[in-house]
Symmetry: D2
């Protein structure tokens, strides 16, 4: 059993991570922290019968674990990650703090200076299906954001094949469940404001996940600058659907387009390419750790990709555990299906 | 046109009151206040195209109005009501501050001393169908709570007829929409906590609306001490359903039971007694200002009454405007249907 | 008072039409029909206290009315419209049967031959803001579909100004409430299938509303063939949001883009152009008869337009009554705000 | 591995049963049937990647299994159960067909004659915590209804202790998720009818689950005739909450009341008695196979019990698998936590 700890266990992503680890065949949860609920048990803050104590971060016993999952908010994650790395513990960080390779870019988008640009060089961007080889050896893993996961997995086969038209926009229209906005009460997540509503926010090039997607699109040879991204908040608790519109550099038949996706993801345990006459819905991945993708040709040069993940599963805790599995040489889907 | 003002226009009940007054054939809105959003317009805080400015309470022009609707929270309402009465303005208070005739009882349940026990003598409890004559002359009207409105309108015909068994429990199992919990963000009203959930709270004799119901049941000759009240929060934005279980002092046929209700409410424009084979649902009153009631006999001595209101309509703003109409000699349902 | 009848009053759009007419200052409802509920009253099939009898179509008293609203399903509408026109009654048809000018195109998309190509010449496409002059004189008005209304009102100012790039795709990603799918029970509208889900369907160029949008885009000088349209079913009862991505033929500043929209719609009572820092949400138009539009520039050549309507309001019954008002010389927003 | 089959795998309870068996450590699914979807795979009718073929009932290979789960509708279940018993296969029947010991009572409530009164003697009512000893040896197990499970587990400790006042009503006010109404499309389960609504139905003594509850209450020495039961349909997909009001024959302190429940259920792996200051909510058991119960004393003679289950978990498939585990000598919670 690999001994692990979880920082920030009281938020939605942290709680989901604890749940996955609790049922994991090869992990043992040694500690879970929460600043806001320190001294309480998980059963005090969630309707579950688990007496898992919540310690303050300062009391985390780093010396007793081999790996930690850091589920703290952006900014708050940095010092904890730095401490854990100093203690020689492998880190899976679910925040955005180590996703952008460029410290200046981080400062621009997150409005705080980066506290450890050196660690940025160590960090591996954990989009598992794309970076598996680097993930294996990672000591500091930056777990991707939920929106980037859903959009990038849809684009990856086309980017890899060099089929995306570099001059045409890549339009990702995404719809997210409300748990993605965190558990801290706010008017925007009030039931009455969300229910019977659907609301775009930070559309165009203004959401913080844009530079994260741009970085990966560029690394894969695409034109990140052509990305247009429109997130919407939808009245569901969990789930995320990205409808992605792309243009191709050459004519592609519907069969070839579909084959490209099934081929690329043939051996992937956590990506499900739907049959060619199906469309992905949030229901295809709800409460799972997989990504489902459908491909709809509009004409020989244009495709609509629909990508579905659970924002807390493949979009956060599920992918974190998937990366943990890869990092420790376990079966990749252990504890995830 | 009767000139009116609204205190506390940015909360759900205040906003609903403004909406009703805006469309009211005989009222003219002179001012609307909000402490949290002072200086802004209603269109800044709700998705509506109405440039209605929000002033701080201190700038309310009491001298320009004949009546005010006070939609402030419990406790905060008292000083404003006192000022308005000093200025000679008639007040419709939607808070609980003037509902309980006994200042000590108020202190017990609301944990603050009452600031004006003298005004409690002036206050009329505005359950319109029960107290219409007093409402007509009211200078300070205490608008009933949403739960009491739904439960008391179901009990009234039986109380009036002296049919309730004083030795048997009166059990009111109520389900409320989330707007009843207010607009201030809190974990309990977070979308993810409410959605796909249903939660009882303060059940038995512990909710603050218990003394309010007890007071009216007692005044109508019933045994308020026998009331058991269980509120539940349901995943709907608006609406309230109370399922009320009562025992009778004598055998009553289904026809007689139904006739008692249709008779009692025969001339009421805002109470709808359903046909005997129907059951009231939240849908029967959603976004209306009426109460719908169904009567289901279990046996000759036991009835189940189901009472439905919109918690912001007949349960708050709708009844407030209904009382306003009665107070000013207007048609009782003006602006309400 | 103008005497009117409603065909198909038991469906969601028909019921909404009856509600609007019931409160309309200048219309008098003479008959309402329903095949499935003939002989019953509206209060038997909806939770409302209105004893409006439902007659079979065959008993509709066309000779007593000046206008009819036809809310029957596609295909079923044709014979009724033909009868009404023979009787000299002006018709507002909410079905798709008279929207496409080309009978062959109708046959292709709806899989039935058109029964009266001659009437297609008479029919006016009732996108009020675009075709108001023709609407005034219309004897047969084809009320637009909900998706086309939301998408076309977003595009209209740009089409009118000749600013859309004819070589670039027009991408409309639309999200609709479930009432748009009709009241007839089906697995796809089952609560459990819709709730906590979000599902695309008929995306690309395969939805029946595509030819309707193409026809209007072309008439306004645009390139309808470049339209890509992706409808999604969202877990809300009412409402529709279209996020529309367009490319321009020349650089346009954010201010100029916004001014184009406010200018075009300056005198429109039922179109609300939001301030430039706002984004339209379903909440902006829920249970109203207006359209709300926001404009978000991505760069000088690309805009994201977000258009919000209530699919039963401006998307169906509301626009039908708006057209009725124009046809009969009434105030355009009579009974609608 | 114990070889099993599932009849009626395409409904919600059948699909849930298949899911549980798929992950069960000691069961092997040999066949799954569906009349409506025969010839298809589960992945054709649910958004899951499992190629589990659906056979017609007639092709079920009874000779290859040791046990079958029968998830067919009431009435349709009887002939299948009879066949399976003739083939010597142990049966867990999720329908109501073998729950009532009295064939005449069955005919009265279900409006069809019972086809095998003899088998009624063989049938064991599978409320596991109450009848575990009989369940062990059962060859035909009648799995309880969802409402009876939630109400009876709340009453059981009091019935066992002889504390219920036989002269006082037992009032169970229950709220159920929509999956309990089945997957067959109907107006009552249409999203638009359920959403933003809450509706009582068959209240008093008229729901088919009343005789089932009465039978068990009577067997345990209580007064089933005093039961009043009010089911409500709530806008959630899964979950059930019963708020149960009872009177006691003697004074009981809050501590003693709580101790009675914790004592009775001390060794039960699938019943969770909440701490005395908590109230059960649907969230306490959502997507689990347990029952959560809270106890709230109103006064020394009156308690409010709140009982929460997932209607598809402990209320159907979960309890079926729990009974299967007991019948085959497996760990009782195998595959369930």
């Amino acid at each position: 059993m690999i001994r692990v700890g979880v920082f920030g266990a009281s938020g939605y992503a942290g709680f989901e991570t604890v749940q996955l680890l609790k049922n994991h065949p090869a992990a043992e949860l040694v500690f879970a922290t929460s600043e806001s609920s320190a001294g309480q048990s998980l059963s005090d803050i969630y309707p579950v019968p688990w007496n898992i104590p919540l310690a303050p971060v300062a009391e985390a016993t780093l010396e007793q674990v081999e790996a930690v999952f850091c589920c703290l908010p952006h900014g708050a994650s940095m010092p904890t990650v730095i401490s854990a790395r100093k203690a020689g513990v492998r880190v899976i960080d679910l925040s955005a703090d180590f996703r952008l390779a460029d410290a200046e870019l981080y400062r621009h988008w997150y409005q705080v200076p980066h506290e450890s640009p050196a660690l940025l060089n160590e960090a591996v961007y954990g989009l598992t299906e794309v970076n598996r080889d680097q993930v294996r050896a990672a000591t500091l893993l930056a777990n991707p954001g939920c929106y980037p996961t859903s959009v990038l997995l849809a684009l990856y086969p086309l980017l890899k094949a060099g089929l995306l038209d570099p001059a045409a926009p890549i339009i990702a229209d995404s719809k997210s469940g409300v748990s993605g906005a965190g558990r801290k009460p706010a008017l925007k997540t009030h039931f009455v404001e969300i229910n019977e509503n659907l609301a775009p926010y930070n559309i165009g090039r203004s959401h913080r996940h844009v530079p994260e997607m741009v970085q990966t699109i560029d690394r894969l040879g695409g034109s990140g600058e052509r990305l247009i991204f429109s997130p919407h908040l939808a009245p569901v608790s969990r789930g995320m659907l990205s409808t992605v519109y792309v243009s191709l550099v050459q004519d592609v038949t519907p069969e070839a387009a579909h084959r490209l996706f099934t081929g690329t993801y043939a051996r992937e345990p956590l990506v499900w390419v739907l049959p060619s006459d199906h469309l992905a819905t949030i229901g295809h991945t709800r409460r799972t750790n997989r990504c489902a993708i459908s491909i709809t040709p509009v004409n020989p040069r244009q495709l609509i990709l629909v990508s579905s993940i659970d924002n807390l599963g493949k979009g956060a805790a599920g992918q974190a555990v998937q990366n943990f599995n890869v990092m420790f040489g376990l079966e990749e889907s252990a504890g995830l299906v």
